[in-house]
Amino acid sequence: MRTQLKGPSGMNYHVTYDQTQCSGCLRCQLACSRTYVKCFQPSAARIQIDSRGGEYLAVFTEACVKCGFCADNCLFGALKKFPEEVAA
């Protein structure tokens, strides 16, 4: 079984997204890109938010390491993190 990559915190999280609470502020993308590409670049973030239309969408890319930083930076309650087991 493939080893799950760990985020900088050493933990992995299952992150849920509630589009009804999302404001489209993109703080999740700003936190992610700041952490992993060292600048504010939403297009390079490992969570992509689409706030067009009435129902928003969040997609975690394959590069996502489930660090949960996106949820840490969401003050709207749209993203929440739950610790998960790391597979050996």
Binding site: T20, Q21, C22, S23, G24, C25, L26, R27, L30, A31, S33, R34, V37, K38, C39, F40, Q41, P42, S43, A44, D50, S51, R52, G54, N73, L75, F76
Partner: protein, 596 residues
């Protein structure tokens, strides 16, 4: 030295020649004018031709964002435009938060856009990183703002920011606005008409680049501390739940809660005071509206409309036409009074002007937008209407400032009668009356004077000026002197890109702004540096306007303000006099150190 925060480029667009090119944003410009609003003003002073008619092909407008836009500094998404405005004939600023437009412009690689010339045919500007195209807008011309945004983004696979005008701007109504991401407005005074006069329907921008602070660690520490302050703010939930209704409870909360679908936020903002609402029932059930504040949607109820759903429908139509709603209602009042007194006659098939009737108001919005019948008389705003009708109209007209109706004052839309900085600012801001917060403690509330010293310090008022504003015993209030610093504080926030709304700027102070600016850009900046630079910014704006003919008539304080039921002194609530207001004006200029 390359600056952090900034993209480092200015996009130039000549619609007559169909040319686009970039020029560098220099460090000298940034050091002197900070960014955002400040650099917009400087560029406008260089680019707007002398005595240019606002809606001519030769006119120029400047759009821009500050160095903090696109970063995670909380609530730093502001977009500014500076243009010579048709309603006032002055060079004024317009500002908006929007949704992602400002950040997208930064990520696309531009700090400012300068637009000159006039296209032969309707066009829109498409900016996608370094690909900039002037595209045909034939299919968009005539569409409302919402339909324009939907149509223009239909074929894009990702989100883009859009600045768009509606039919009112296309037809150059002097109170046409442009909309940022369909949710915020640029700007009172007819900025929409400026775009329309160039046959420019919209600007669409999408960027995949980055905003990079010069000192990442220091910037992160500052940004984090502000974020945590927001997080711990005990009233954050209330702001979220109620949006701007918390500040202006124009309808019962349960009415608003039934309509609210979701909160919307500018990029980086933890508050999210914008709304997406849906009319729940009635003939317009299902209509969805984005708005920069729900209070806008219920404004028709101030004028007598009873049903909230009808109010929302009317504002939706006004916004899609691209009309400034306050000027619309003001002109409706004027036309009603003039027709009632026989000065003008409505055409035989024109509906009665009835503020309580959605049908009436929608019909008139359409007539004004498309310049039909008496609508044509009103489409160019108060000044033009009064000029055409003659002296009998002036006797009935409300007090005007720079050709526009004030927000606050006797007979104005907003029920507020204390004379503070915003009220005096209606006269002394070159753009004319607006309801933007300058971060002053007198903004729409009577606050205890003992809170003022702390507030003034936060605004960056130098220690030695505090007693000039509040008196030696800190028990007086000199509104004129305070307005000088309110303008400076507003210029700080606007130049950096930070929202000036009260629920945001309360977390900022001048020292923090200087630190954030320095960490973002790498340009050494102390608190008093901000003061010097904002003085330069505001002086440049004033000198530009003096060049363009700003005179005493455009800065006259309306006499009607101090007649019966007029303005009251902020501190005492006692009726004010014109002489007191005139003295405040003089104090304002003295505090800047300017010859009036």
């Amino acid at each position: 030295m390359s600056m952090g925060g900034f993209a480092g480029k200015i996009l130039n667009v000549d619609l007559s020649k169909k040319q686009v090119w970039t020029t560098p944003l220099t460090e000298t410009m940034a050091r002197q004018y900070l960014g955002g609003l400040g650099i917009c003003i400087k560029l406008a002073s260089e680019q707007i031709p002398v005595n240019v008619p606002p809606l001519s092909a030769e006119s120029v407008f400047v759009l821009g964002i500050g160095p903090l836009v696109g970063t995670d500094l909380p609530s730093s998404s502001r977009v500014y435009a500076v243009a010579k405005l048709p309603a006032s004939g002055t060079v004024g600023w317009c500002g908006a938060g929007g949704f992602t437009f400002g950040a997208q412009l930064k990520y696309a690689g531009y700090d400012h856009v300068i637009v000159s010339g006039k296209s032969e045919k309707p066009v829109y500007l498409h900016i996608e990183d370094d690909r900039v195209e002037i595209r045909d807008a034939g299919d968009l011309w005539g569409l409302g703002v919402d339909d324009t945004c939907d149509s223009i983004c239909r074929d894009l696979d990702k989100q883009a920011g859009v600045l768009a005008i509606g039919p009112a701007g296309e037809r150059k109504s002097a109170f046409a606005m442009a909309f940022v991401d369909r949710i915020s407005t640029l700007g009172r005074g007819g900025f929409g008409a400026v775009m329309g006069s160039k046959n420019l329907k919209a600007i669409q921008v999408r960027g995949t680049g980055a905003a990079t602070p010069a000192d990442r660690k220091r910037f992160h520490k500052i940004s984090r501390s502000i974020f945590n302050a927001f997080k711990e703010y005990p009233y954050l939930k209330e702001w979220r739940d109620m949006g701007m209704l918390k500040a202006f409870p124009i309808v019962p909360v349960d009415v608003y809660q039934r309509m609210k679908i979701r909160r919307a936020a500018c990029v980086s903002c933890p508050v999210g005071c914008k709304d997406v609402i849906r009319i729940p029932d009635g003939p317009f059930a299902g209509l969805v509206k984005h708005t920069s504040s729900a209070i806008n949607l219920f404004t028709p109820m101030i004028y007598g409309m009873k049903d909230p759903g009808e109010a929302v429908k009317l504002i939706t139509d006004l916004d899609n036409f691209g009309l400034d709603m306050f000027e619309f209602f003001g002109l409706m009042g004027l036309a009603r009074d003039l027709s009632a007194s026989g000065v003008i006659s409505l055409e035989h098939d024109e509906p009665k002007i009835d503020f309580q009737s959605l049908e009436s108001m929608r019909a008139w919005a359409e007539k004004i937008t498309f310049r039909q019948g008496t609508g044509a008389l009103l489409a160019d705003g108060f000044s033009a209407a009064l000029e055409r009708i003659g002296p009998d109209a002036k006797a009935v007209a409300p007090p005007l400032i720079k050709g526009m109706q004030p927000y606050a004052g006797p007979g104005a839309a907003l029920p507020w009668d204390r004379f503070g900085t915003m009220e005096l600012g209606q006269v002394l801001d070159p753009r004319g009356p607006h309801v933007g917060s300058g971060g002053s403690p007198t903004y729409f509330a009577v606050r205890p004077l003992e809170t003022f010293p702390r507030h003034l310090k936060r605004m960056g008022v130098p220690d030695e000026a505090v007693s000039r504003i509040l008196g030696p015993g800190l028990n007086q209030l000199n509104v004129g002197r305070l307005l000088r610093y309110s303008h400076s504080w507003f210029a700080t926030l606007g130049s950096l890109g930070i929202c000036a709304r009260g629920q945001v700027n309360r977390f900022y102070n001048a020292e923090l702004c200087a630190e954030a600016y320095e960490a973002a850009t790498g340009i050494p900046t102390r608190t008093n540096d901000l003061g010097r630079r904002t003085e330069r910014i505001w002086r440049t704006l004033r000198e530009l306007n003096l060049r363009e003919g700003l005179d005493e008539s455009k800065e006259a304080i309306p006499r009607q303000w101090f007649k019966e039921a007029g303005f009251k002194e902020y501190l005492t609530g006692e009726p004010m006099t014109l002489e007191q207001a005139e003295e405040m004006k003089k104090e304002y200029f003295r505090e800047w150190g300017w010859d009036q």
